[in-house]
Protein backbone atom coordinates (compact mmCIF):
# COMPACT_ATOMS: atom_id res chain seq x y z
CA UNK A 1 0.00 0.00 0.00
CA UNK A 2 1.47 3.27 -0.99
CA UNK A 3 1.01 6.22 1.29
CA UNK A 4 2.33 8.72 -1.23
CA UNK A 5 0.60 12.02 -1.31
CA UNK A 6 2.76 13.53 -4.08
CA UNK A 7 2.93 12.55 -7.72
CA UNK A 8 5.17 9.56 -8.48
CA UNK A 9 8.43 10.40 -10.25
CA UNK A 10 8.76 9.53 -13.91
CA UNK A 11 11.77 7.45 -14.92
CA UNK A 12 14.75 8.68 -16.97
CA UNK A 13 14.64 12.35 -16.21
CA UNK A 14 17.53 14.79 -16.47
CA UNK A 15 18.98 16.17 -13.28
CA UNK A 16 17.96 19.68 -14.23
CA UNK A 17 14.74 18.90 -16.02
CA UNK A 18 11.91 21.38 -15.68
CA UNK A 19 10.31 19.23 -13.04
CA UNK A 20 13.45 18.96 -10.96
CA UNK A 21 14.12 22.68 -11.24
CA UNK A 22 10.60 23.29 -10.01
CA UNK A 23 11.38 21.14 -6.97
CA UNK A 24 14.10 23.57 -5.99
CA UNK A 25 12.54 26.86 -7.08
CA UNK A 26 8.99 26.33 -5.83
CA UNK A 27 9.78 26.23 -2.10
CA UNK A 28 11.73 29.47 -2.38
CA UNK A 29 8.60 31.46 -3.08
CA UNK A 30 5.30 29.93 -4.20
CA UNK A 31 5.45 27.03 -1.78
CA UNK A 32 7.79 28.40 0.88
CA UNK A 33 7.78 26.12 3.95
CA UNK A 34 7.67 29.03 6.40
CA UNK A 35 5.59 31.73 4.75
CA UNK A 36 3.17 29.58 2.74
CA UNK A 37 3.03 26.23 4.52
CA UNK A 38 3.61 27.96 7.88
CA UNK A 39 5.92 25.21 9.15
CA UNK A 40 9.11 25.52 11.16
CA UNK A 41 7.96 28.82 12.67
CA UNK A 42 9.33 28.00 16.14
CA UNK A 43 12.92 27.86 14.99
CA UNK A 44 12.46 30.97 12.91
CA UNK A 45 11.49 32.79 16.10
CA UNK A 46 14.09 31.22 18.35
CA UNK A 47 17.41 31.35 16.57
CA UNK A 48 17.23 34.44 14.40
CA UNK A 49 18.86 36.81 16.88
CA UNK A 50 22.13 36.44 15.02
CA UNK A 51 22.78 35.81 11.32
CA UNK A 52 25.48 33.28 12.16
CA UNK A 53 23.04 31.17 14.17
CA UNK A 54 20.50 31.34 11.34
CA UNK A 55 23.12 30.10 8.86
CA UNK A 56 24.29 27.21 11.05
CA UNK A 57 20.69 26.21 11.76
CA UNK A 58 19.88 26.34 8.04
CA UNK A 59 22.89 24.22 7.12
CA UNK A 60 22.02 21.71 9.86
CA UNK A 61 18.40 21.50 8.70
CA UNK A 62 19.59 21.09 5.12
CA UNK A 63 21.93 18.23 6.07
CA UNK A 64 19.22 16.45 8.05
CA UNK A 65 16.57 17.00 5.40
CA UNK A 66 18.69 15.87 2.41
CA UNK A 67 20.00 12.77 4.18
CA UNK A 68 16.60 11.99 5.69
CA UNK A 69 14.70 12.46 2.44
CA UNK A 70 17.12 10.18 0.61
CA UNK A 71 17.04 7.46 3.28
CA UNK A 72 13.24 7.55 3.56
CA UNK A 73 12.91 7.56 -0.20
CA UNK A 74 15.24 4.57 -0.55
CA UNK A 75 13.24 2.69 2.08
CA UNK A 76 9.83 3.87 0.91
CA UNK A 77 8.80 0.49 -0.50
CA UNK A 78 9.81 -1.30 2.67
CA UNK A 79 8.47 0.96 5.42
CA UNK A 80 5.25 -0.58 6.75
CA UNK A 81 2.40 1.89 6.46
CA UNK A 82 1.30 1.42 10.05
CA UNK A 83 4.58 2.54 11.56
CA UNK A 84 5.72 4.93 8.86
CA UNK A 85 5.58 8.03 11.07
CA UNK A 86 7.54 6.26 13.80
CA UNK A 87 10.10 5.08 11.25
CA UNK A 88 10.44 8.62 9.89
CA UNK A 89 10.82 9.93 13.41
CA UNK A 90 13.55 7.41 14.26
CA UNK A 91 15.50 8.36 11.13
CA UNK A 92 15.06 12.10 11.74
CA UNK A 93 16.09 11.76 15.39
CA UNK A 94 19.12 9.68 14.43
CA UNK A 95 20.25 12.22 11.87
CA UNK A 96 19.73 15.16 14.23
CA UNK A 97 21.79 13.41 16.90
CA UNK A 98 24.45 12.70 14.30
CA UNK A 99 24.61 16.38 13.31
CA UNK A 100 24.84 17.32 16.99
CA UNK A 101 27.76 14.91 17.60
CA UNK A 102 29.62 16.15 14.54
CA UNK A 103 29.15 19.82 15.44
CA UNK A 104 30.45 19.17 18.96
CA UNK A 105 33.58 17.46 17.66
CA UNK A 106 34.48 19.79 14.80
CA UNK A 107 32.89 23.21 15.36
CA UNK A 108 32.65 23.26 19.14
CA UNK A 109 32.08 27.01 19.44
CA UNK A 110 29.20 27.01 16.99
CA UNK A 111 27.70 23.93 18.62
CA UNK A 112 27.69 25.77 21.94
CA UNK A 113 25.82 28.67 20.35
CA UNK A 114 23.15 26.64 18.60
CA UNK A 115 23.41 23.38 20.54
CA UNK A 116 20.04 23.83 22.21
CA UNK A 117 18.31 24.36 18.89
CA UNK A 118 20.02 21.57 16.96
CA UNK A 119 18.21 19.10 19.19
CA UNK A 120 15.01 20.91 18.31
CA UNK A 121 15.43 20.25 14.57
CA UNK A 122 13.54 17.06 15.30
CA UNK A 123 10.49 19.15 16.15
CA UNK A 124 10.80 21.10 12.92
CA UNK A 125 7.64 20.23 11.01
CA UNK A 126 9.38 20.85 7.68
CA UNK A 127 11.45 17.69 8.23
CA UNK A 128 8.55 15.36 8.95
CA UNK A 129 6.41 17.23 6.41
CA UNK A 130 8.83 16.56 3.54
CA UNK A 131 9.41 12.95 4.62
CA UNK A 132 5.70 12.26 4.59
CA UNK A 133 4.64 14.42 1.65
CA UNK A 134 7.47 13.82 -0.76
CA UNK A 135 10.11 11.24 0.14
CA UNK A 136 7.54 8.49 0.86
CA UNK A 137 6.35 8.68 -2.74
CA UNK A 138 9.38 9.61 -4.81
CA UNK A 139 12.81 8.35 -5.81
CA UNK A 140 15.91 9.36 -3.86
CA UNK A 141 17.30 11.89 -6.34
CA UNK A 142 14.16 14.02 -6.72
CA UNK A 143 13.74 13.71 -2.95
CA UNK A 144 17.18 15.21 -2.47
CA UNK A 145 16.24 18.05 -4.82
CA UNK A 146 13.04 18.59 -2.87
CA UNK A 147 15.08 18.69 0.35
CA UNK A 148 17.50 21.25 -1.09
CA UNK A 149 14.64 23.43 -2.30
CA UNK A 150 12.76 23.34 0.97
CA UNK A 151 15.79 23.93 3.15
CA UNK A 152 16.82 26.86 0.96
CA UNK A 153 13.31 28.26 1.23
CA UNK A 154 13.59 27.88 5.01
CA UNK A 155 17.11 29.33 5.04
CA UNK A 156 16.39 32.56 3.20
CA UNK A 157 13.53 33.50 5.49
CA UNK A 158 15.70 32.77 8.54
CA UNK A 159 18.61 34.81 7.22
CA UNK A 160 16.44 37.78 6.24
CA UNK A 161 14.74 37.83 9.64
CA UNK A 162 18.13 37.46 11.37
CA UNK A 163 19.62 40.30 9.29
CA UNK A 164 16.92 42.71 10.48
CA UNK A 165 17.05 41.50 14.08
CA UNK A 166 20.82 41.58 14.43
CA UNK A 167 21.15 44.92 12.64
CA UNK A 168 18.51 46.79 14.62
CA UNK A 169 18.90 44.84 17.84
CA UNK A 170 22.66 44.77 18.05
CA UNK A 171 23.97 47.14 15.37
CA UNK A 172 26.01 44.38 13.77
CA UNK A 173 25.77 41.73 11.07
CA UNK A 174 27.58 38.38 11.38
CA UNK A 175 29.13 39.83 14.53
CA UNK A 176 30.72 42.73 12.59
CA UNK A 177 29.76 46.15 13.88
CA UNK A 178 27.83 48.06 11.20
CA UNK A 179 26.42 50.95 13.24
CA UNK A 180 29.55 52.66 14.58
CA UNK A 181 30.05 52.69 18.33
CA UNK A 182 30.52 56.47 18.18
CA UNK A 183 26.84 57.07 17.30
CA UNK A 184 25.64 55.42 20.49
CA UNK A 185 24.44 57.23 23.58
CA UNK A 186 25.07 60.75 24.70
CA UNK A 187 28.55 60.87 23.19
CA UNK A 188 27.15 60.23 19.69
CA UNK A 189 23.78 61.12 18.23
CA UNK A 190 21.92 59.34 21.00
CA UNK A 191 21.32 56.16 19.04
CA UNK A 192 20.56 53.02 20.97
CA UNK A 193 19.81 49.45 20.02
CA UNK A 194 16.19 48.43 19.72
CA UNK A 195 16.07 45.68 22.32
CA UNK A 196 12.62 44.66 21.16
CA UNK A 197 14.22 43.22 18.02
CA UNK A 198 16.07 40.74 20.21
CA UNK A 199 12.86 39.40 21.74
CA UNK A 200 11.09 36.49 19.98
CA UNK A 201 7.78 38.32 19.30
CA UNK A 202 9.59 40.65 16.90
CA UNK A 203 10.61 37.64 14.80
CA UNK A 204 6.94 36.78 14.48
CA UNK A 205 6.18 40.33 13.38
CA UNK A 206 9.00 40.21 10.81
CA UNK A 207 7.81 36.85 9.44
CA UNK A 208 4.35 38.37 9.26
CA UNK A 209 5.68 41.32 7.27
CA UNK A 210 7.46 38.95 4.85
CA UNK A 211 4.22 36.99 4.39
CA UNK A 212 2.35 40.26 3.78
CA UNK A 213 4.84 41.46 1.15
CA UNK A 214 4.90 38.06 -0.51
CA UNK A 215 1.12 37.84 -0.81
CA UNK A 216 0.80 41.41 -1.98
CA UNK A 217 3.18 40.63 -4.86
CA UNK A 218 1.97 37.10 -5.54
CA UNK A 219 -1.82 37.26 -5.53
CA UNK A 220 -2.31 33.58 -6.32
CA UNK A 221 -1.23 32.80 -2.75
CA UNK A 222 -4.25 34.62 -1.33
CA UNK A 223 -6.91 32.16 -0.23
CA UNK A 224 -10.35 32.84 -1.64
CA UNK A 225 -12.92 33.21 1.08
Amino acid sequence: MSTATAAPAKPAEGLFSKKNRKLIVDPLNDNNPITVQVLGICSALAITVKVENALVMSISVMAVLIAGNMVISALRNMIPGRIRIIAQLVIAAGLVTLVDIILKAYVYDVSKQVGVYVGLIITNCIIMGRFEAYAMGNKPLPSAMDAIGNSLGYAWILVVVALFREFFGNGSIMGLRIIPESLYGDGGIGYFNNNMMILPPMALVLVGIIIWIQRARNTKLIEQA
Binding site: P80, I101, Y108, G115, V116
Partner: protein, 267 residues
Protein backbone atom coordinates in the same frame (compact mmCIF):
# COMPACT_ATOMS: atom_id res chain seq x y z
CA UNK B 1 6.80 -8.25 -3.51
CA UNK B 2 7.74 -11.49 -1.86
CA UNK B 3 6.84 -10.39 1.63
CA UNK B 4 3.75 -8.83 3.06
CA UNK B 5 5.04 -5.56 4.39
CA UNK B 6 1.93 -4.94 6.43
CA UNK B 7 2.10 -8.19 8.35
CA UNK B 8 2.76 -7.98 12.06
CA UNK B 9 5.99 -9.94 11.85
CA UNK B 10 7.42 -7.75 9.08
CA UNK B 11 6.46 -4.59 10.95
CA UNK B 12 8.15 -5.92 14.06
CA UNK B 13 11.30 -7.00 12.22
CA UNK B 14 11.50 -3.73 10.29
CA UNK B 15 11.18 -1.64 13.45
CA UNK B 16 13.81 -3.71 15.27
CA UNK B 17 16.30 -3.58 12.40
CA UNK B 18 15.76 0.15 11.87
CA UNK B 19 16.33 0.98 15.53
CA UNK B 20 19.37 -1.31 15.69
CA UNK B 21 20.92 0.25 12.59
CA UNK B 22 20.29 3.84 13.71
CA UNK B 23 21.57 3.01 17.20
CA UNK B 24 24.72 1.39 15.84
CA UNK B 25 25.50 4.27 13.51
CA UNK B 26 25.08 6.76 16.36
CA UNK B 27 27.15 4.72 18.79
CA UNK B 28 30.00 4.22 16.35
CA UNK B 29 30.07 7.91 15.38
CA UNK B 30 29.93 8.99 18.99
CA UNK B 31 32.79 6.71 20.02
CA UNK B 32 34.87 7.78 17.02
CA UNK B 33 34.39 11.49 17.74
CA UNK B 34 34.49 11.35 21.53
CA UNK B 35 38.24 11.99 21.84
CA UNK B 36 37.89 15.18 19.77
CA UNK B 37 34.94 16.28 21.86
CA UNK B 38 36.67 15.52 25.18
CA UNK B 39 39.71 17.48 24.07
CA UNK B 40 37.46 20.43 23.18
CA UNK B 41 35.90 20.30 26.65
CA UNK B 42 39.33 20.06 28.34
CA UNK B 43 40.65 23.04 26.40
CA UNK B 44 37.51 25.02 27.07
CA UNK B 45 38.00 24.43 30.79
CA UNK B 46 41.55 25.76 30.51
CA UNK B 47 40.27 28.69 28.47
CA UNK B 48 37.69 29.48 31.17
CA UNK B 49 40.27 29.31 33.94
CA UNK B 50 42.53 31.64 31.97
CA UNK B 51 39.63 33.94 31.03
CA UNK B 52 38.76 34.40 34.70
CA UNK B 53 42.35 35.65 35.08
CA UNK B 54 41.71 38.09 32.19
CA UNK B 55 43.94 36.06 29.89
CA UNK B 56 42.20 35.54 26.56
CA UNK B 57 43.59 32.75 24.41
CA UNK B 58 42.42 30.77 21.40
CA UNK B 59 41.28 27.26 22.18
CA UNK B 60 44.28 25.68 20.46
CA UNK B 61 46.75 27.79 22.45
CA UNK B 62 45.02 27.17 25.78
CA UNK B 63 46.99 24.08 26.98
CA UNK B 64 50.33 25.84 26.54
CA UNK B 65 49.25 29.07 28.25
CA UNK B 66 47.59 27.09 31.03
CA UNK B 67 50.82 25.18 31.67
CA UNK B 68 52.69 28.47 31.78
CA UNK B 69 50.42 30.38 34.18
CA UNK B 70 48.78 27.80 36.45
CA UNK B 71 51.28 26.81 39.10
CA UNK B 72 49.37 24.45 41.31
CA UNK B 73 46.02 22.72 41.50
CA UNK B 74 44.50 21.33 44.66
CA UNK B 75 41.22 20.14 46.10
CA UNK B 76 39.66 21.43 49.28
CA UNK B 77 36.90 19.71 51.22
CA UNK B 78 33.62 21.22 52.39
CA UNK B 79 35.41 22.69 55.43
CA UNK B 80 37.99 24.47 53.30
CA UNK B 81 40.81 22.07 54.19
CA UNK B 82 43.13 20.78 51.43
CA UNK B 83 42.45 17.17 50.51
CA UNK B 84 43.73 14.57 48.07
CA UNK B 85 42.52 14.11 44.52
CA UNK B 86 42.77 15.20 40.92
CA UNK B 87 41.60 18.80 40.93
CA UNK B 88 41.52 19.37 37.16
CA UNK B 89 39.88 16.03 36.51
CA UNK B 90 37.06 16.56 39.02
CA UNK B 91 33.76 17.04 37.23
CA UNK B 92 32.23 19.73 39.42
CA UNK B 93 29.01 19.71 37.41
CA UNK B 94 28.52 15.99 37.94
CA UNK B 95 29.33 16.37 41.64
CA UNK B 96 26.77 19.19 41.88
CA UNK B 97 24.11 17.07 40.19
CA UNK B 98 24.93 14.17 42.53
CA UNK B 99 24.57 16.49 45.49
CA UNK B 100 21.20 17.73 44.19
CA UNK B 101 20.12 14.12 43.77
CA UNK B 102 21.26 13.28 47.32
CA UNK B 103 23.87 10.83 46.02
CA UNK B 104 26.72 12.86 47.49
CA UNK B 105 26.48 14.58 50.86
CA UNK B 106 27.42 18.23 51.14
CA UNK B 107 30.29 17.48 53.52
CA UNK B 108 31.76 14.98 51.07
CA UNK B 109 31.96 17.43 48.21
CA UNK B 110 35.32 18.59 46.96
CA UNK B 111 36.19 21.97 45.54
CA UNK B 112 39.08 22.54 43.11
CA UNK B 113 41.41 25.52 43.53
CA UNK B 114 43.83 26.65 40.82
CA UNK B 115 46.77 28.71 42.01
CA UNK B 116 48.07 30.81 39.17
CA UNK B 117 49.95 33.98 38.54
CA UNK B 118 49.62 36.52 35.79
CA UNK B 119 50.66 40.11 35.38
CA UNK B 120 52.76 39.87 38.58
CA UNK B 121 49.75 38.86 40.67
CA UNK B 122 49.16 35.57 42.43
CA UNK B 123 45.59 34.44 42.00
CA UNK B 124 43.26 31.75 43.26
CA UNK B 125 40.89 30.56 40.54
CA UNK B 126 37.71 29.14 42.04
CA UNK B 127 35.28 27.09 39.91
CA UNK B 128 31.59 26.90 40.81
CA UNK B 129 28.33 25.40 39.57
CA UNK B 130 24.70 26.35 40.12
CA UNK B 131 21.28 26.22 38.51
CA UNK B 132 19.80 28.80 36.16
CA UNK B 133 16.34 28.91 34.64
CA UNK B 134 16.70 26.11 32.09
CA UNK B 135 19.72 24.18 33.29
CA UNK B 136 23.11 24.33 34.92
CA UNK B 137 25.18 27.49 35.06
CA UNK B 138 28.81 27.62 36.03
CA UNK B 139 31.63 30.06 36.46
CA UNK B 140 35.19 30.72 37.52
CA UNK B 141 36.08 33.55 39.86
CA UNK B 142 39.71 34.56 40.38
CA UNK B 143 40.58 36.07 43.74
CA UNK B 144 43.70 38.09 44.47
CA UNK B 145 46.36 37.08 46.97
CA UNK B 146 44.59 39.01 49.77
CA UNK B 147 41.96 36.27 49.64
CA UNK B 148 38.98 38.59 49.25
CA UNK B 149 39.27 40.88 46.21
CA UNK B 150 37.91 39.54 42.92
CA UNK B 151 40.38 39.92 40.07
CA UNK B 152 38.21 38.57 37.27
CA UNK B 153 35.40 36.19 36.53
CA UNK B 154 33.71 34.32 33.75
CA UNK B 155 30.30 32.64 33.68
CA UNK B 156 28.63 30.28 31.29
CA UNK B 157 25.43 28.30 30.99
CA UNK B 158 23.95 25.35 29.22
CA UNK B 159 20.72 26.70 27.87
CA UNK B 160 19.70 30.06 29.30
CA UNK B 161 17.53 32.27 27.09
CA UNK B 162 19.58 34.14 24.45
CA UNK B 163 19.41 37.88 25.05
CA UNK B 164 18.14 37.39 28.60
CA UNK B 165 19.64 34.91 31.07
CA UNK B 166 22.35 33.99 28.58
CA UNK B 167 23.78 37.48 29.11
CA UNK B 168 25.61 36.19 32.20
CA UNK B 169 28.17 34.83 29.74
CA UNK B 170 28.86 38.29 28.31
CA UNK B 171 31.25 41.02 29.53
CA UNK B 172 28.23 43.22 30.31
CA UNK B 173 27.66 41.01 33.32
CA UNK B 174 31.02 39.59 34.36
CA UNK B 175 33.00 42.80 33.92
CA UNK B 176 31.24 44.11 37.03
CA UNK B 177 33.09 41.65 39.23
CA UNK B 178 36.72 42.86 39.30
CA UNK B 179 37.43 44.87 42.46
CA UNK B 180 34.43 43.54 44.39
CA UNK B 181 35.23 41.83 47.68
CA UNK B 182 33.82 38.65 49.14
CA UNK B 183 34.31 39.68 52.77
CA UNK B 184 33.91 42.79 54.89
CA UNK B 185 37.09 44.56 56.02
CA UNK B 186 36.91 42.67 59.32
CA UNK B 187 36.77 39.34 57.51
CA UNK B 188 33.04 38.67 57.78
CA UNK B 189 31.92 36.67 54.78
CA UNK B 190 29.49 38.50 52.47
CA UNK B 191 29.78 36.69 49.10
CA UNK B 192 29.09 38.67 45.95
CA UNK B 193 25.43 39.64 45.81
CA UNK B 194 23.54 39.87 42.55
CA UNK B 195 21.06 42.72 42.82
CA UNK B 196 17.84 43.17 40.93
CA UNK B 197 17.08 46.61 39.62
CA UNK B 198 20.44 48.20 38.94
CA UNK B 199 21.56 49.13 42.44
CA UNK B 200 24.34 46.61 42.86
CA UNK B 201 27.29 48.50 41.52
CA UNK B 202 27.45 50.88 44.47
CA UNK B 203 27.85 47.95 46.88
CA UNK B 204 31.48 46.80 47.26
CA UNK B 205 30.11 43.23 47.42
CA UNK B 206 27.40 43.55 44.78
CA UNK B 207 26.75 43.49 41.05
CA UNK B 208 23.67 44.16 38.94
CA UNK B 209 21.60 41.21 37.75
CA UNK B 210 20.42 40.74 34.18
CA UNK B 211 17.14 42.53 33.54
CA UNK B 212 14.65 40.05 32.17
CA UNK B 213 16.85 37.23 33.44
CA UNK B 214 15.84 37.27 37.07
CA UNK B 215 15.89 33.52 37.68
CA UNK B 216 19.31 33.15 36.05
CA UNK B 217 20.60 36.09 38.11
CA UNK B 218 19.16 34.48 41.26
CA UNK B 219 20.96 31.29 40.27
CA UNK B 220 24.27 33.10 39.99
CA UNK B 221 23.63 34.75 43.36
CA UNK B 222 22.94 31.41 45.03
CA UNK B 223 25.93 29.76 43.33
CA UNK B 224 28.31 32.49 44.50
CA UNK B 225 26.94 32.54 48.04
CA UNK B 226 27.09 28.77 48.51
CA UNK B 227 30.44 28.11 46.84
CA UNK B 228 32.42 31.14 47.94
CA UNK B 229 31.53 30.32 51.54
CA UNK B 230 33.58 27.13 51.28
CA UNK B 231 36.41 28.84 49.46
CA UNK B 232 36.37 31.70 51.96
CA UNK B 233 37.29 29.38 54.83
CA UNK B 234 40.12 27.96 52.71
CA UNK B 235 41.36 31.41 51.70
CA UNK B 236 41.28 32.62 55.30
CA UNK B 237 43.45 29.64 56.27
CA UNK B 238 46.15 30.38 53.70
CA UNK B 239 46.08 34.16 53.60
CA UNK B 240 47.36 36.28 56.49
CA UNK B 241 44.36 37.61 58.42
CA UNK B 242 43.44 41.26 57.94
CA UNK B 243 44.47 43.74 60.65
CA UNK B 244 42.09 43.67 63.64
CA UNK B 245 39.10 45.95 63.16
CA UNK B 246 38.92 49.18 65.07
CA UNK B 247 35.61 48.23 66.62
CA UNK B 248 34.98 44.94 68.35
CA UNK B 249 33.60 42.32 66.00
CA UNK B 250 30.03 41.31 66.54
CA UNK B 251 29.86 37.81 67.99
CA UNK B 252 26.67 36.87 66.16
CA UNK B 253 25.44 37.03 62.63
CA UNK B 254 28.56 35.54 61.15
CA UNK B 255 28.00 33.31 58.15
CA UNK B 256 29.77 30.03 58.44
CA UNK B 257 30.60 27.60 55.67
CA UNK B 258 27.10 26.37 55.33
CA UNK B 259 27.42 24.63 52.02
CA UNK B 260 24.16 22.78 52.38
CA UNK B 261 22.11 25.93 52.31
CA UNK B 262 20.16 26.28 49.14
CA UNK B 263 17.85 28.97 50.33
CA UNK B 264 17.89 32.03 48.19
CA UNK B 265 18.19 35.24 50.10
CA UNK B 266 17.73 37.95 47.60
CA UNK B 267 18.89 41.37 48.52
Amino acid sequence: MAFDKNSNSFTFIFASVLVAVVGTVLAVTFLALKPAYDENVRREKMQNILASMKVKVERDAAPEKYKELVKETLLVDAHGKPTDGDAFGLDVLKQYKDWKANVVKAEDMKYPVYKASTDGKDLFVLPMVGTGLWGPIWGYVSVESDGRTVYGSVFDHKGETPGLGAEIATPVFYDQFPGKTITEDDGTYTSIKVYKGGTGTTDPHGVDGISGGTITSDGVHEMLKRTLAVYDTYLKSVVAPPPPPAMEALPTDSLTADSTSTSLVNP
